[in-house]
């Protein structure tokens, strides 16, 4: 297993590597297995990714599933409709957009997440209100997820249809359709929640 570095425009045919570094524009049509993958340019991949760590400071477009121990996104991470992300830890200060499921022990997002489902152990999504009003009027809520399900959940600036968990904090500027809580529940006064079910203790 060797290292692969791409600095210009090129193609990677897939395979097993120690490390993969994309500093230019890279395209891959096959599966990649690596200890670490580092994307600082633009990376388009239609194969599956199986890696220890995945760092993205650039733009990455994936058409198939990603499986990693740790994912760090400071750029843009786009996955196609049915592609899923499985990881032990995901840190996002950029954008993650997928039509599929994100399954992770820990998600710590200060950026924007759009996903069908986010499931795991500790999920924290903090999407700030944009500084410019015009952006805010076009896009009230920065993160949109259909279902969030985890042991502990903390959300700010998130629009979600269903949130199920044990300990849930609905912070500012959230819009949630249904919550099912089996532990403690806090809802900020600036957020709206339509239905609440479960046996929980409300925190104020």
């Amino acid at each position: 297993m060797g290292d692969f570095i791409m600095e210009g425009i090129g193609k990677i045919s897939g395979g097993e590597f120690e490390s993969v570094k994309i500093e230019g524009v890279g395209n891959c049509s096959n599966n990649i297995k690596a200890v670490s993958i580092n994307i600082e340019g633009v990376f388009n991949c239609s194969g599956e990714i199986d890696t220890g760590s995945l760092y993205c400071e650039g733009v990455a477009n994936f058409k198939a599933n990603i499986r990693a121990k740790k994912i760090n996104v400071e750029g843009v991470f786009n996955l196609s409709k049915f592609a899923k992300i499985e990881a032990s830890e995901i840190i996002c200060e950029g954008v993650i957009k997928t039509g599929g499921e994100i399954s992770t022990d820990i998600l710590d997002a200060e950026g924007c997440i759009e996903a069908d489902e986010i499931v795991g152990d500790k999920i924290k999504i903090c999407s700030h209100k944009p500084k410019h009003k015009i952006i805010y009027w076009f896009n009230h809520f920065r993160s949109k997820v259909r279902v969030i399900e985890a042991t502990s959940i903390e959300l700010y600036g998130v629009k979600a249809h269903t949130v199920n968990g044990k300990d849930i904090i609905i912070g500012s500027n959230c819009m949630i359709e249904n919550i099912d809580c089996s532990g403690t529940l806090y809802i900020d006064e600036s957020s709206s929640v339509r239905n609440i079910t479960g046996e929980y203790t409300r925190k104020y």
Binding site: S103, V119, G120, D121, R146, V147, E149, H161, T162
Partner: protein, 217 residues
């Protein structure tokens, strides 16, 4: 009981599953990622809140009990090899089967002749163990058990997985078997006597746990 795919299954909701087993969402999804709980067991059905997830009750409760018993002794990767059909050893030799005390000795002798080979997949081993239990419980003769096993091979191979329920029944003087998927029980008319049921998934899990050395690569 809930309807899924045209059949009535004994399902348990995700919420009830977590409440009964005491596991957390985090554990459930970690075990799903590690393939300890198969993805196909997560059955989504429409509900008034949008969508709810259900699981085949007996299988998932049995699996979670196994995981909880073993998780302090094995890593998740080792547990996946033990419990997950996709990651465990797929071929067991006739010599290795001699170590499985649950297999009836007379059945063991005829296996190469009936199967026409000496390597067996995990679902076949589960079938042989299940049949051994029925043969001993019902005192079925060697001749009749050989005849039954010969008839069982083709439909078992056609199903080719452990998520299968095998119902043994008697019609006149002969024993027969019916196979159904997802552990759905088969109902017979009054002229047919159902003798016993072999749950391949349950037997497969028990055998893999008891004879770990045979099933871990």
């Amino acid at each position: 009981m809930l309807r899924y795919g045209g059949e009535f299954l004994n399902l348990i909701s995700k919420k009830d599953l977590l409440a009964i087993t005491g596991i957390s969402y985090g554990q459930l999804y970690r075990w799903k990622r590690e393939r300890l709980i198969p993805e196909e067991w997560f059955i989504k059905q429409s509900s008034y809140t949008g969508q709810e997830t259900f699981f085949p009750r007996e299988q998932v409760l049995s699996r979670i009990n196994s995981i909880l018993e073993l998780k302090d002794s094995y890593s998740l990767e080792e547990l996946a090899k033990l419990l997950s059909p996709e990651t465990s050893v797929t071929q067991i030799s006739i010599n290795a089967l001699r170590d499985i005390t649950e297999i009836n000795s007379e059945l063991l002798k005829i296996l190469p002749e009936v199967f026409k080979r000496e390597q067996f997949e995990i679902f076949e081993v589960a079938l042989i163990v299940g049949l051994s239990q029925v043969v001993e419980k019902e005192s079925i003769s060697n001749e009749l058990s050989k005849s039954l096993l010969s008839r069982m091979i083709s439909p078992a191979i056609a199903k080719k997985n452990t998520n299968v329920l095998c119902t043994i029944f008697r019609l006149e003087e002969e024993y027969h078997a019916a196979f159904s998927v997802n552990s759905v029980a088969v109902s017979f008319d009054d002229d047919i006597e159902a003798i016993d049921q072999i749950n391949l998934r349950e037997i497969s899990d028990l055998i893999k746990l008891k004879y770990k050395n045979l099933f871990m690569k």
